[in-house]
């Protein structure tokens, strides 16, 4: 015990620096996650493939890795051997969750094997317009001008 104390004497006498990489990386990983939903998802260019957010996550995780590295490499200079992993673990979890939401859940759709195919008669519609009046397929296609219709189904809940 006494021997260890003398070994670590410099660490306890010199004030160790705050390891800014660790909180910065943690904070940036939260920003990387939230900014997608609050901002980048609004633009097709940054929504379909969330490259800006992946880039931000890359920087965040690099900061955390660098912070952890120097916390363990030079514990006499930098803090963070304890709070480093405590910050890095949730940051990794947030990153994993983001990957799941964007590359797992987005593809997790029902098979729709019974969806009508080209050549088949379109199922009739049982819709209402914005005034609440019923709309059928016959209201949208045909008529004197032989109109066609492009039905666009949306996820809704704007």
């Amino acid at each position: 015990m006494t021997g260890m104390m003398t070994d670590r004497a410099p660490a306890s006498t010199v004030k160790r620096r705050w390891n800014i990489f660790l909180p910065a990386g943690f904070f940036l990983s939260i920003v990387s996650f939230l900014s997608y939903y609050s901002f980048f998802a609004a633009f097709p260019l940054t929504r379909d493939i969330p490259w800006v957010n992946l880039l931000l996550f890359g920087v965040a995780l690099s900061l955390l890795a660098a912070g952890l590295f120097r916390a363990y490499r030079s514990p006499e200079l930098y803090r963070g051997r304890i709070f480093g992993p405590i910050l890095a673990a949730p940051a990794l979890a947030i990153f994993g969750f983001f990957i799941y939401l964007n590359f797992g859940a987005a593809n997790d759709l029902p098979p729709s094997s019974m969806a009508p195919r080209p050549g088949q008669q379109a199922p009739d519609l049982a819709l209402v317009d914005m005034t609440g009046a019923a709309v059928k397929l016959g209201d949208l296609v045909g008529g004197e001008k032989g109109r066609w219709a492009l039905l666009v189904f949306y996820r809704g809940y704007w």
Partner: protein, 104 residues
């Protein structure tokens, strides 16, 4: 979407939202095409597009597009495997032009 109008094709947006909600959304987004509601998911079910419990436990539609001709026959469909990847208007126009619609 004048390009669709010029080809005699009406753009019809459909979602499971109530008409009041749709009205607000259409106003907010400035949509000029027809937007219809399927509040009880009946139509969405007929087209086999129900994504059960996908939004806070409620059933919604997966994004999809169907081109229907004057006789009510489906001429072209697009059912995305990834709901973040949506059809662009240009793709729809290209598909439409490839069908060589006879103006009547």
């Amino acid at each position: 979407m004048p390009e669709f109008e010029a080809r005699g094709v009406g753009l019809i947006g459909i979602s499971v939202d109530a008409p009041e909600l749709t009205r607000e959304h259409v106003k907010k987004m400035g949509f000029t095409f027809t937007f219809l509601s399927d509040p009880n998911t009946e139509t969405t079910r007929r087209y086999d597009l129900v994504h059960a419990g996908a939004y806070e436990g409620k059933d919604i539609a997966r994004p999809a597009e169907f081109l229907v001709d004057e006789a009510g026959v489906i001429r072209w469909t697009n059912i995305t495997p990834d709901y973040r990847v949506r059809l662009s208007p240009d793709e729809a126009l290209a598909a439409l032009d490839a069908l060589d619609r006879q103006p009547s």
